[in-house]
Symmetry: C2
Subunit: 147 residues, 2 copies
Amino acid sequence: MADDEADDARRVIELLSEAECLELLGAGGLGRLVYNGRYGPTALPIVYKIDEGSIVLGTWDPVLFDEDLRTGISEAEYQVAVEADQIDVEAREGWIVLAQGAAHHLDTEAERAPFTDAGLEPWIEGVSAHYIRVNPTRIWGNRTRKA
Amino acid sequence: MADDEADDARRVIELLSEAECLELLGAGGLGRLVYNGRYGPTALPIVYKIDEGSIVLGTWDPVLFDEDLRTGISEAEYQVAVEADQIDVEAREGWIVLAQGAAHHLDTEAERAPFTDAGLEPWIEGVSAHYIRVNPTRIWGNRTRKA
């Protein structure tokens, strides 16, 4: 048992399999797009959904997409990650999943069409939606729970 | 007014001042440590608190600290960021703050002492606490709210 009186259950931390990670991501929702930006390591909240094993996210921050997340080389894609977690600090429990891979910008209408009414659209008016697909090359996660 | 019937209020997005960002971080709690790890861009949930304008966070993932987040050069510190957000996807509102700076590892007992009972300790037994201080060189945030 833990020494802390306010916290009388032992916790364990367990690695999640890739299948468990994908299942946790499957519900979609709030995550964070993680990348190395011009001012250093960067994470921004995004809304994502899973589409055939890849992660599609929508964002619209003009600061971001004018200058970041493209290598400047045709066909060469920028390395990013999508992080999602559900952590209860009071209960000291929760999970995190981190999916790392290249950012493929959905630049054509045909690529964007399936996602234009999928809950990924901008929350504010007057900006264009921007969609990115991440095909994870590494998925990692863990869960902390009461033993 | 937005076209979406389920969402009848207009939203605005506003940049936050550095003071507003620090005020939002002031409550401490759940955030994410963001850095460029050996497998690419990485974000991990951490618990942090503000201490005299800098951010002190606790973590304990042995995978992390054996190999990442140190430059290998004495006195040269690794660039990281701390991200915190509070986003309500249903309401389409919320804020994010991103604080970027160098990771200073609290390697001495004297540095660690003020934080050993500050809510930053490991949630699981048998691992040592590891504390990092980030002195932000850039703090950025925004808030999306109903207009």
